[in-house]
Amino acid sequence: MATAQRSEEIDRALAQEAAETAAKADVKPPYDEMHAPDGSVRPHFAIMARRLAALGPGELDERQRTLERFFLLQGITFTVYGAESSTERIIPTDLLPRIIPADEWARIETGLVQRLQALNLFLADIYGERMILKDGVVPRELVLGAPSYRREMQGLYVPHQAYANVCGSDLIRQEDGEYAVLEDNLRVPSGVSYMLANREASKRTFPGTFRLAGVRQIDRYPDLLLTTLRSMAEWRPNPQVVVLTPGVYNSAYYEHAYLARLMGAPLVEGRDLVVHDNMVYMRTTTGLRRIDVIYRRVDDDFIDPLTFRRDSSLGVPGLFNAYRAGTVVMCNAPGTGVADDKAVYAYVPEIIRYNLGEEPILPNIETFICREPAQMSHVLANLDKLVVKAVGASGGYGMLIGPHASAAQREEFAQAIKADPENYIAQPTIQLSTAPCLIDGEVDARHVDLRPFILSGEKITVTPGALTRVALRKGSLVVNSSQGGGSKDTWVLAGPGDDLS
C-alpha cells in the first residue's frame, strides 16, 4: 500500500501543478457540481440550495461543531504520532453533502461493475493461462516484472475468480462533466468507515432535506461485505470470518474495528493467529478455534514472514501455505496489486475489450504509452503540455511535469524516452470538479474526487454512495487527509426504479 499511496500522492501533486498551470493559461474552468455554467443551480442540488439559503451562517457553523464533537466522541480519529506524545485528530469533515443524480450514478455503477469484472478476469488470467499476454494485448514484461506481481499466486484457485473482493476506485470529473477513473485500488482500500460515518453525520445535520431528496441508503455495506466474504468459503456451512488488522497503531485502525464490530466478526492481529497442519486457528480463551475467511487489512508483503517479507511481525508464519492448501481464504487475494499498477492502468480499456468484448463505460484518464511508436512521437512533440511518468519508478522519481519544466529538462526526458520507451507513460494535466463546502462559516467551492466501493464475491455489488474527498485549501487539488484533505458525504439520489435501500 505504501507504493500505492506514494503514487497517489504524486498524482495529487501533479493535479495541483496542473491547476496552477490551468489558472495561468486561462484554460477551461473545472466542472461545478452545483451550478450550471450560466450560474443557475443544477436541478439535483435544488433542495439543498433552498435549505442552505434558509440557514444562517452561524447555524451552519454550529452544526459543523456538533458534527466534529460527534466524531471525536466516537473516536473516529487517526493518530498522529510525535516524538514526545501522540495526538488524535478527526479527519476534517465537511457537512455539505455532494449530490449525484440517479442517471449519473447508473452510469458510474455499470462502469465500475464492468471494470472490476474485467480486472478480476485479468487477474485470473495472468495467474492462470496468461492468454492476454500470449495474445500480446498487454506486454508480458510489464505484468511479470511488476513489483506487485506475486508468482506465489500462480495457478491458485480463487472462488468465483473474485480476486479483488473489496475495491475502492478513485474517480474524477473532467471539465466536460465526464467521470473518469484516475486509479483503481485493489489491494487494501480504506475509507469506507468515513463514508458510513459521514452519512450518520449528514443525516443528523440535514434530516429534513435528506428525507425530501430521496437519498439511497448505504448502511447495508457491512452486511454486504460479510455476505461477500462468506461467499468466498462456500464449502464451509457457517464460515468463521475474521478481520485481520496490523494493530492499533495503524492509521486505519478505527475502520478495521468499525467493520469488525458491524459485521460481528472478531478483529484479530497476527499474534492472535496460529497455523498448524496448514489450518489457521485463532487463540481464544477456551483454546484454538478454526477460521475460514480472513478479511485482511495487512499488505501482501506483511501477511506471512515465511513467504513474503521475513522481517514482518504483523503477519502469521505459515498463513500463505494454508491459503495455498485451500483451508482458508484471504480477501483480497494476494497479488491483486498488479492490476492497479500504474503501467497496467494504461491498458485497462484494452483489458475490458479483451475480457468482456465491450467498450469501457468509464474512461481512463488519457494515457500515452511510449512503447507504442505513434504515441511516443505524440509525447515527444507535446512534452511542454504533458506529465511524463516512469512506470517502474515511485516516490516522485523519474517524472517530468512538462508545463513547469525547463527546456533542458524536457530535452533530457526526450532522450530518456527514446532510449527506453517501454519505461514511460504520459498523461495530460488533469482537473477536478468543484463542490460547495463550508469553509470558515461560508459556503465556497473546493475541488473533490469520488471513491465508491465495489464488492465482488459470488456477485459484484456497488454501494450507492461514496467517499467524496475534498481539497480544503482553496485552489488545491490535494485531497489526501495527510495533506489538508477532508471528506464529505455523498448522496446518491434514487431514480424512478430505485429502492431507497
Binding site: G75, G247, P266, L267, H276, M282, T284, T285, L288
Partner: protein, 311 residues
C-alpha cells in the same frame, strides 16, 4: 469464546478503571481533609498517599500538589490520567467488543483528563473536577452493565474490576489497620470510610458509632457492601466459575483459588482475625489475589499451545 488477547484487554480495562476511580476518590478526600485540623489532614494524606504509592514528608506537607499529581501526573503510572489512558488504549484495541455507549463514556473522560485544559480545571475547582471523574466512571460502569451482553467479555471486565478493588481496599486496610487498630482519631476514621465509599452504608449498619474495629469488620467481611473484600471475592469466584466452564479441568487453577479465598472470607471470624493479627490476614488475602491474577493469565491468555491443539 473470545480472543485471548481481547479477554486480556477487557480484564485490564476493568482493573484500570477501578484504579482510576479509587485514586480520584483518595485525592478528593485528601483535599477535603485539609479543612480539618493539621494533624488529621497529615494523617489522612499519609494514608491516602501510602495506599496508592509512597507517602514522603514533602508530599504529605503539600496535599494540593500531591492530589494534583495523583490526578494528572503522566509520569506517575498509577495516576488517574495514566490509568485512564491505559484503559482507553486497551478499549481501542478491543473497540469491536465493547458497545459504542460504553466506549463513549471512557473516551469522553479520557479526552477531558488528557486535554490541554485539565490542569486549569483542576486548579479552578479540584473537588468538582475529581467528583466529575468519579461520576463519569460510574456512568462507564453503568453503560457497560446496561448495554453490553453479560457474556464472557463483560465477565472479564468485571473480574478485573473486582480483583483490583479487593487489592485496593486490602492495601488501604493494611495501611490503616495493619499495625494495630486504635490509633486513628474520629475524623480520620470517617475519612477512611469515605475513601472506600462506605460512610453511608456503614452508618446504616453500625449507626454513628465510628470505630476502627467495626470499620475493619465492615470493609473485610460485609456480605452486601460492594466494596468489602468479601463482596469482591464473591464476585471474583462467581465470574471465574462461569468463565472456567469451557476450559478443561487442568486449567481451572484460578477458579479453585477464587473458591478457596471466597470461603476464607465467608467463614472468617473477626475475633480470630484479631488474635492472629489483622495484617497477617490481609497479607494472606492480597497474596491470594496476586495468585488469582497470575492464574487467570495462565489459564485464559498465555496458555501453552500444545495443550490446546484440536485432536
Amino acid at each position: 469464546m473470545m480472543l485471548a488477547r481481547v479477554a486480556d484487554s477487557l480484564y485490564w480495562i476493568g482493573r484500570y478503571v477501578e484504579r482510576a476511580e479509587h485514586v480520584a476518590r483518595l485525592a478528593d478526600i485528601m483535599l477535603t481533609a485539609t479543612l480539618d485540623r493539621a494533624e488529621t489532614a497529615a494523617q489522612v494524606a499519609r494514608i491516602a498517599l501510602s495506599a496508592v504509592g509512597e507517602a514522603t514528608p514533602e508530599k504529605i506537607a503539600t496535599p494540593f500538589e500531591s492530589a494534583r499529581g495523583l490526578a494528572l501526573d503522566r509520569m506517575d503510572g498509577s495516576s488517574v490520567v495514566s490509568s485512564l489512558a491505559l484503559a482507553r488504549e486497551n478499549a481501542r484495541q478491543v473497540r469491536d467488543q465493547i458497545t459504542s455507549e460504553t466506549w463513549e463514556r471512557l473516551n469522553l473522560v479520557h479526552l477531558r483528563l488528557s486535554g490541554a485544559t485539565a490542569a486549569k480545571s483542576f486548579n479552578d475547582g479540584s473537588s468538582a473536577f475529581l467528583h466529575d471523574i468519579i461520576a463519569d466512571l460510574h456512568l462507564f460502569k453503568g453503560a457497560a452493565d446496561a448495554t453490553m451482553s453479560h457474556g464472557e467479555g463483560w465477565r472479564f471486565l468485571l473480574l478485573g474490576a473486582h480483583l483490583e478493588r479487593a487489592q485496593l481496599i486490602g492495601r488501604l486496610l493494611e495501611v490503616c489497620f495493619g499495625r494495630g487498630v486504635e490509633r486513628l482519631d474520629h475524623p480520620t476514621l470517617t475519612a477512611v470510610l469515605r475513601m472506600s465509599c462506605a460512610l453511608e452504608p456503614y452508618l446504616r449498619v453500625y449507626t454513628a458509632d465510628v470505630r476502627a474495629r467495626p470499620i475493619l469488620e465492615f470493609l473485610l467481611l460485609n456480605a452486601e457492601f460492594p466494596r468489602s473484600i468479601r463482596f469482591s471475592t464473591d464476585e471474583i469466584e462467581a465470574h471465574l466459575s462461569v468463565l472456567s466452564r469451557h476450559t478443561e479441568a487442568v486449567h481451572a487453577g484460578p477458579g479453585r483459588l477464587a473458591g478457596r479465598l471466597k470461603a476464607r472470607l465467608q467463614y472468617a471470624d473477626m475475633a480470630e482475625i484479631e488474635r492472629e493479627g489483622s495484617h497477617v490476614f490481609l497479607e494472606g488475602v492480597l497474596a491470594e489475589c496476586g495468585a488469582i491474577h497470575s492464574g487467570v493469565y495462565d489459564a485464559f491468555v498465555a496458555y501453552p499451545l500444545e495443550m490446546r491443539l484440536p485432536a
